[in-house]
Symmetry: C2
Subunit: 492 residues, 2 copies
């Protein structure tokens, strides 16, 4: 594959697809719609997992693991969930292959090995988990039940894109049960907050916190909270959702508890998840025409050191000095790679680490050796400075923090520039079509209007922001009264 | 469920099944053969993963993720692997359910949504991974390729037991590619060593390192290295395997590299894995009639503190002192739980933590408060001592190390007592039937003899130990010449 990367302005979508592959993050597999997450891409996911898992545990959650398969009949228990999820899914119907007698060396399904009941590969786990919770919850003493699962799920998507929409993806799904409605609502809000904090502090990706409209709600939820991010091409990305499930699953699976007062009550539920889709969001928030730009807090390699040398003797002298820097950086918890491969030239290495979004690059050549200096380059702005070797560790540590802050600030400015208040449908269409981003508009609260707007503009309601002000207004399409602006956008 | 736990001497198998459920480790699910791993059981797995993952990374491996599904045709590429694995497996044939018009509220498979090629839910990932590696490996510079995957796999087992043999289980599978045969063999040996170190140092479970006989080898491997543990009932447990795959997969998937000399060569491969089965091994190595005994290095809770009090005032006074102990233990990296629930009596709590195998229990009552003491009890020997509060942190820290060592020493003594050298088939049968454990016997090296011995005694060759001495002897069954003793045992 050519090293050339399509420019964003030329074809954003092509730029994205190329970048994911060229930066060694992921690739398509032999299985339609399923991706292979390559080591460099998976290392980003591992860093995300580590922070999220810590945040889940700090808020009292424990991990568990539930079966990959959901018997078909369990889906039928919760009607909306079945409507929403049990349709486009991978279905296991048989449990054996056999040698095909008509076709030597080939395998075929053994017709004798048909399952009595088909098994669905989980598209989400509410059904199997609530069927299990029935046995775990008897008393108020068993509540709250705060469980998370890291898992793979499968949704048979027709159009797939690496990270953003794949048939199989990795995610976490929290499933909690509570004694009261208020507690469950507080849990759903807490997890929206956790996701927003993670997105902004670790991914450096600003998000709008809000609630979904009814038609965009999770199947089976009474309320869906969301965090919505904005990509560089002006399209929104739903980055994480947290659902208040009411008593829908408790009733579908008959999960009751005995209250302190001795009464039998249905429990209240939430579920919440983020997935490998976040990696797509990370890429489209910060990266540029030279390749990835990774936030230092999630970068698999925070600092790369490239020696510039002629001959083994110079390399040895440089390596000796580099060893000290590497040691000191690691002592500060900074991940660093010394790339002394002799099979690539420095220029090729520079391009490779730019493409891979390593936040800081240190180069050391013969002159640096003489002067006691190194060259430090930051990926986000391409700025370079020559610094004393004695100060490099301190400078790099500060620089990593500065980069984390800078890319967040830049993304925030872009996002804020792309929230446009409109009051007429002409303006609405103009902004959606020409400027992109979020449009803050009054809406009459009906599904019909939402559908009509989607039909006319391809924009959907991304959310009703948590902090939306009460404001008298009229629906941008129908002129009916409205009291809040909601955010519309085209979305991934 | 009753709190009573069947005694090991009464019915070992029943004891195991009850313990897994009563100690909240796992339970059977609504899906035949698939388990739910409950939070307490999953926390053990997380601790195992953390240490193993660290060891894999320290030996140069990176994690990645490959698809859950393997197209049927990829299995056909490697004949032995297909024989061994593609048979008893979950097969996805359709990608959609629809509402059944003849059966309101029910779902059925949409006959229109039949896959062109069936997808097998991975029983192991060699086929999909080697199909991917073809694109990753061109040059000697791409080697070695050292990749690991943490994943779920499915094998359609007819008889399942929680952790030991389940249709779906969690595992890690390493898949590496090398330029030379010697490197690949060294890798397979290194990973056997990593597994043995993990088993002995973290699980406190002694293992025998050895090679499998041909008939017990992994399908598609040239050599299978194993670590074999011995359970308390005298049956062996294969705890981890590391395979030298030769060039079998490279040839099946046409994976070649250009050598330094410019020649096209097939690469050499290994794969290696351990699974949630290890949790079964952990249980059956150390636990007793009172419940689990967990090695401190893997216990989710290392220390539990139980207050013994009358009234809120006493509890407050105790809690104040406990807070300091908790803080000091945590500062030493020791996980500690203060169980101040007022819904259970101290006796019930003691029984619960014994059942759950918490290594150290601290109790503090009113008299302790007056005397500045606490009671410290160890789970492995049930010994108790009253110690000064000032010394408790130091004492507990040492005690955790002592317990880790003690349970290993105990298991090692048991295992060593259960390796019996026999020279006649009468002795062989007698030991297998009455004493159990490993039998070290001469064997003529043929599959026929191995099969015959299995048929007569149910014992199989667990391994040819790495450290087996050269020794002239005669096969215990056929009297033919043999130069090494191999280990036989009945096995899980």
């Amino acid at each position: 594959m050519s090293k050339h990367l399509t420019k964003r302005a030329e074809d954003y979508s092509k730029w994205y697809n190329e970048l994911v592959v060229k930066a060694d993050l992921a690739e398509n597999s032999a299985v339609r719609g399923c991706m292979v997450i390559k080591p460099y891409g998976f290392a980003i996911w591992e860093n995300m997992q580590k922070e999220l898992d810590r945040m889940f545990k700090e808020t009292g959650h424990q991990n568990a693991y539930f079966p990959l398969f959901v018997p078909k009949s369990l889906f039928e228990a919760e009607e909306k969930n079945a409507e929403g999820f049990a349709k486009e899914c991978a279905v296991v119907t048989h449990y054996r292959l056999q040698n095909d007698p008509d076709n030597e060396g080939k395998l075929r399904v053994d017709p004798e090995a048909k399952l009595e009941e088909e098994l669905v590969v989980r598209p989400t786990s509410e059904a199997i988990i609530w069927n299990t919770y029935k046995g775990w919850i008897q008393s108020h003493r068993d509540l709250p039940l705060l469980v998370n699962q890291w898992a793979n799920v499968v949704r048979w998507e027709m159009r797939t894109r690496l990270f953003l929409r794949t048939a199989e993806f990795l995610w976490q799904e929290g499933h909690t049960a509570h004694a009261t409605k208020a507690e469950a609502i507080a849990e759903a809000r807490q997890m929206q907050e956790v996701y927003a904090t993670f997105a902004e502090e670790f991914m450096a990706m600003p998000v709008v916190k809000g609630a979904k409209s009814e038609s965009e709600r999770f199947a089976g939820a009474d309320d869906t909270l969301t965090i919505e991010a904005l990509m560089q091409d002006g399209k929104a990305l739903q980055a994480g959702t947290s659902h208040f499930l009411g008593q829908n699953f408790a009733k579908a699976f008959d999960v009751k508890y005995t209250s302190k007062e001795g009464k039998q009550e249905y429990v209240w539920a939430t579920s919440w998840g983020v997935s490998t889709r976040l990696i797509g969001g990370l890429i489209m928030t910060h990266s540029d025409d030279a390749g990835l730009v990774l936030p230092p807090k999630l970068a698999p390699i925070q600092v790369v050191i490239v020696p510039i040398y002629k001959g083994q003797e110079q390399l040895n002298a440089i390596s000796e000095k580099v060893a000290i820097i590497v040691q000191d950086l690691r002592a500060k918890g900074i991940s660093v790679k010394f790339d002394d491969r002799d099979t690539f030239r420095p220029g090729a290495k520079f391009a490779e680490y730019e493409l891979k979004g390593v936040p800081v690059r240190i180069a050391m050549g013969n002159r640096d050796l003489e002067n006691g200096t190194v060259e430090v380059a930051r990926r986000d702005t391409f700025e370079k400075q020559t610094v004393s070797r004695d100060e490099v560790v301190e400078i790099v540590a500060n620089l990593l923090e500065e980069i984390q802050e800078n890319i967040y600030t830049k993304a925030l400015a872009f996002r804020n520039d792309h929230i446009t208040e409109v009051n007429t449908f002409e303006e609405f269409k103009d902004v959606i079509e020409n400027k992109g981003g979020f449009v803050a508009a009054h809406w009459d609260g009906t599904m019909e209007t939402e559908d009509k707007i989607k039909e006319l503009t391809k924009a959907t309601i991304r959310c009703i922001p948590n902090d939306a002000k009460e404001e008298e207004g009229t629906c941008v399409l129908t002129g009916k009264p409205s009291r809040k602006r909601v955010l519309f956008a085209k979305a991934y």
